[in-house]
Amino acid sequence: MSHSHDHDHEHDHEHPAAPMVEEITDFEVLEIAVRELAIEKGLFTAEDHRKFTEWAEQIGPAAGSRLVAKAWTDPAYKARVLNDAVEACKEIGIDWTEPTGSGTPSDYMNLRVLEDTPTLHHVIVCTLCSCYPRPLLGHSPYWYRSPNYRRRLIRWPRQVLAEFGLLMSPEVEIRVEDSNQKCRFMVLPARPGGTEGWSEEQLAEIVTRDTMIGVALPRAGRTADDTRPVHKARRPVPHETEARP
């Protein structure tokens, strides 16, 4: 073995590759193990699993927006929503039993819609983990599942709402819904001013995901498609191609 070979060998070890992903959790290992066993047993195929994953991940908050817009324009529909929300979801094309017949990905078949009024504002959280009305709102945002949101919202709701940019008047009762059994909850926000005569489609555009969690209020002119504010750098670094003569 030559000296130069040893040197090269040591050199490789001085620069170990940095890990590109965070450590996998026990639950992820468990999911993979069960999934692979189920595929080997023939319960479903890998293709079935991919298709279901694609289906589950494309669910967004659009259905919830439609429900709120319809409830704003049709008092009889709102009454049905407040009386039996799972049944009322069928009128906007959402069947909580899909696709398995037993509720996946809703977890369960109980939904209660919480109606805001001028003097009452609801906000939802799951302090145990991540209960969320997925058939209507899709997958929860990352912060909804974070320990920070879960442990602080129940105790300091007004401060946490302020961190989302929502300052609530002390006159308004804040009602936190800790969703940690088999009911799922969604907020029916109050219809904002400036939307008189709007169609259901127009109204649905301003009912964003966060307004149905309760960390924002809908308002005319702000839609789910709003672009994020871009703050230009104060001391921009010229791009290489721009710096060339």
Partner: protein, 103 residues
């Protein structure tokens, strides 16, 4: 006595009743949060009848089902230093975790 093991425990509470969350030992699994233990609230809704989390966690599918309730608490009762008297918090609890309260 009925031989149907899955028959439900009769629901003891109605909307408006005052209830206190019991302080029971944690054995292996529960979904009853510590912050509501021993606190008094009001039944806001009756939801459904189902197994308790403590039984379900051990696949005791033949255990007796219990009525679940949404219970409303005043935030000031949960956190003594809470400054807004009207603010509330609701969470869901099965019958067995509740006891009648008079205040």
């Amino acid at each position: 006595m009925s031989s149907d093991k899955s028959a439900g425990v009769p629901a003891r509470f109605n909307v408006g009743d005052r209830v206190r969350v019991r302080e029971l030992p944690n054995l292996f699994y529960t979904r009853t949060q510590m912050y509501v233990r021993s606190v008094t609230g009001t039944i806001a809704a009756r939801t459904y009848e189902d197994l308790t989390p403590e039984d379900e966690a051990w696949n005791r599918d033949d255990a007796r089902r219990e009525q679940y309730y949404i219970v409303r608490f005043r935030q000031k009762d949960l956190w003594p230093e809470y400054p807004f008297a009207a603010d509330t918090l609701q969470t869901e609890l099965p019958d067995g975790w509740l006891e009648p309260a008079n205040n």
